[in-house]
């Protein structure tokens, strides 16, 4: 029996056939995104060296769910901070400075710090998970090292039969080069 490496399945999803276009200009890439969306393409990948509002606007994606991770992380952190301080105070009750065993004002400091700590860590987890799930959904798509330097790119998944049509669309929008992957 052949064993499957579960990590490979997560981090190296099977390759997706399609076309990779390289753009030297931002407005050309924005133009291509508009044409692709008009032609009914939805699952293409856009590469860019910097986050640009023009790309965001033309893609019109929903707001990232990372904010829920931050919110839930922050609230849990606050709750853990409250539990930590109150439980530990009542577990070994010693009167300090004539104050009640569980005094909320000094514990607010701990609750605040824990809110920030858990909020920040769960934000990181949120970014990681969401990016990973998106990559899993799209499969392994073609890439070019120039995309982290000064080129914009669009990968359009496509069956070989429809590739010619997509290629002429991309070239029409101003792609510097288009290659089949």
């Amino acid at each position: 029996m052949k064993l499957v490496n579960p990590l490979a399945a997560i981090f190296h999803p099977p390759p997706t056939p399609g076309l990779l276009a390289v753009f030297g200009h931002l407005d050309a890439a924005v133009d291509a995104i508009g044409r692709l969306r008009a032609a009914g393409h939805t699952d293409f990948t856009v590469y860019s060296p910097v986050p640009r509002h023009e790309l965001e606007d033309s893609l019109d994606q929903p707001v990232s769910p990372v904010r829920m991770f931050t919110l839930v992380g922050g609230i849990s952190g606050c709750a853990i901070g409250a539990w930590l301080t109150l439980y530990m105070s009542y577990d070994w009750p010693v009167v300090v400075g004539g104050k009640p065993i569980g005094s909320i004002p000094p514990y607010v400091v701990i609750m605040f710090e824990m809110t920030v700590l858990f909020g920040a860590l769960s934000t990181i987890l949120g970014i990681g998970f969401n990016a990973l799930f998106a990559a899993r959904r799209l499969g392994t798509v073609a890439y070019d090292p120039r995309f982290t330097n000064d080129k914009f790119g669009i990968f359009v998944p496509s069956e070989p039969a429809r590739a010619g049509q997509v290629e002429s669309l991309l070239r029409g929008a101003g792609a510097e080069e288009v290659r089949r992957a």
């Binding site: 986050p51 990232s64 990372v66 904010r67 990181i124």
Partner: protein, 447 residues
């Protein structure tokens, strides 16, 4: 507009200029690194003596039991603060100029907190029991006292270190990917692993930019809270000179003041060594100087307020403490602090000083000296002049072990910082590109 870079600064120029800093940095760099390691060696030697012979080697004498180590702790935590100010608070304010300097500042934050964190451990005496600070179920059935500001401090510093490290690494990921795509050999392998699969896809940017915004939003109140909590280590006690509600804002302003000065101290040689004059311009230095000026003015005002309250409040102990500060045996420390922090920032009102890199470098070093002495004055001098202990005040003098460990902390900090700037992009590649005009059709690059 001063923000507009010269036309030849394109996306490709930025990537290559910053990737070049990872190449051979030349003799000057190695000389600095050797000096840092040598200083660290001095510190480690003194620390080993301290571990062997105990805290008697430190100059403690009743009633001064918080001295150079706690001074260094507060100093280094303070240094850390401007990094988060520049990377998080200015990010929320959408300041374009921060992009060229924030990576250096953020790295400085992480290494400064790493340095600061050592001092409470050195200071506690039985250093091998440091883990007693952590609330873990133990055989004694005891828990930490959460009503103590020292425990708040532990949580604040722990959170600050974690969050600022996470923030630094987050910002580094797209840049490591950019240098990965240019590198060859073993460096390519290293950067391929550390870039965690970054390719700049729309999905990655979508989650990343949102997450970055929330991290900045969380780091902003955090940075203000951390030095407030550090100030409460003092303000919650009844010692005259410490027991003031002014302390939290006073400490936060002082922290940012010293931190911005340290950013200038670090950026001047880095810019020269790695030839980054076109990315880090005089305009950036001027903006840093303005931040320094603003916080310097707040610090000056705090000094005035503090002295005024001591006099006007009518509390004889408080008055005596401030008199002792200015004219007692430690007058030299107090006046170093007053001159470096109260008078020197006034120079920055002059545009000539703000736009001269050399002048700023000199001012920044004096600000750092002044801020170290500020902490020394607040901590040591307030304790030494404590009126409740009049019968027993011996003279306090820092010993060679104190000075050695302090010097070692500078070596430790500079060593990490120098290793960082050599091995990772010291200027943010993707964020510097963000403030450049994007390449558009028709014109090669918009000027």
């Amino acid at each position: 507009m001063a923000d507009t870079p010269p036309a030849r600064v394109t996306y490709d120029f930025v990537t290559r200029a910053i990737a070049r800093t990872l190449g051979n940095p030349g003799k000057g760099y190695f000389a600095l690194l050797a000096a840092a390691v040598a200083l660290l060696g001095v510190g480690i030697t003194c620390l080993l003596f301290l571990l062997r012979y105990g805290l008697g080697l430190a100059g403690y004498s009743h009633p001064v039991y918080w001295a150079v180590y706690i001074t260094c702790f507060v100093f280094w935590v303070g240094i850390a603060h401007s990094g988060t100010l520049i990377s998080a608070i200015l990010f929320l304010f959408r300041s374009g100029w921060r992009t060229a300097v924030y990576r250096t500042a953020e790295a400085m934050t992480v290494f400064a907190v790493m340095t600061a964190g050592l001092f409470p451990l050195i200071h506690i005496g039985r250093q091998w029991y440091f883990y007693w600070l952590i609330p873990y179920p133990n055989e004694r059935g005891l828990w930490p006292n959460f009503k103590s500001p020292l425990i708040w401090d532990e949580f604040a510093i722990g959170t600050y270190f974690t969050v600022s490290t996470v923030f630094l690494i987050m910002g580094l990921i797209p840049d490591i990917a950019a240098v990965r795509d240019l590198a060859t050999g073993w460096r390519k392998k290293l950067y391929a692993v550390t870039a965690v699969g970054w390719r700049g896809t729309n999905e990655q940017w979508r989650h990343y930019t949102r997450g970055y915004l929330y991290l900045a939003a969380l780091a902003t109140p955090l940075v203000l809270s951390v030095h407030s909590v550090v100030s409460w280590d003092f303000a919650m006690a009844l010692v005259p000179g410490w027991h003031a509600t002014l302390f939290a804002p006073y400490f936060v302003a002082g922290a940012i003041y010293s931190g911005v000065a340290m950013v200038i101290t670090l950026l001047v040689p880095i810019r020269k060594l790695f030839h980054l004059e076109e990315l880090i311009t005089v305009h950036h230095f001027e903006n840093l100087a303005k931040l320094c000026l603003l916080t310097g003015m707040i610090v000056s005002m705090s000094y005035c307020t503090e002295n005024f309250t001591a006099w006007f409040g009518g509390n004889p102990h408080e008055r005596a403490a401030f008199w002792y500060r200015a004219f007692g045996p430690f007058w030299w420390a107090s006046w170093t602090m007053n001159i470096c922090n109260g008078l020197l920032p006034w120079l920055l009102w002059s545009k000539k000083v703000r736009t001269s890199v050399i002048a700023l470098f000199v001012v920044s070093i004096f600000v750092n000296i002044g801020m170290w002495f500020e902490r020394f004055v607040i901590i040591v001098v307030s304790l030494a002049g404590e009126p409740f202990e009049r019968f027993s005040n011996a003279t306090y003098n820092p010993t060679w072990a104190d000075w050695g460990i302090m010097a070692g902390s500078f070596g430790w900090f500079f060593m990490w910082f120098l290793l960082f700037v050599k091995n990772f992009p010291a200027v943010s590649i993707s964020e510097v590109k963000e403030v450049l005009p994007a390449p558009k059709r028709g014109k090669a690059v918009a000027a």
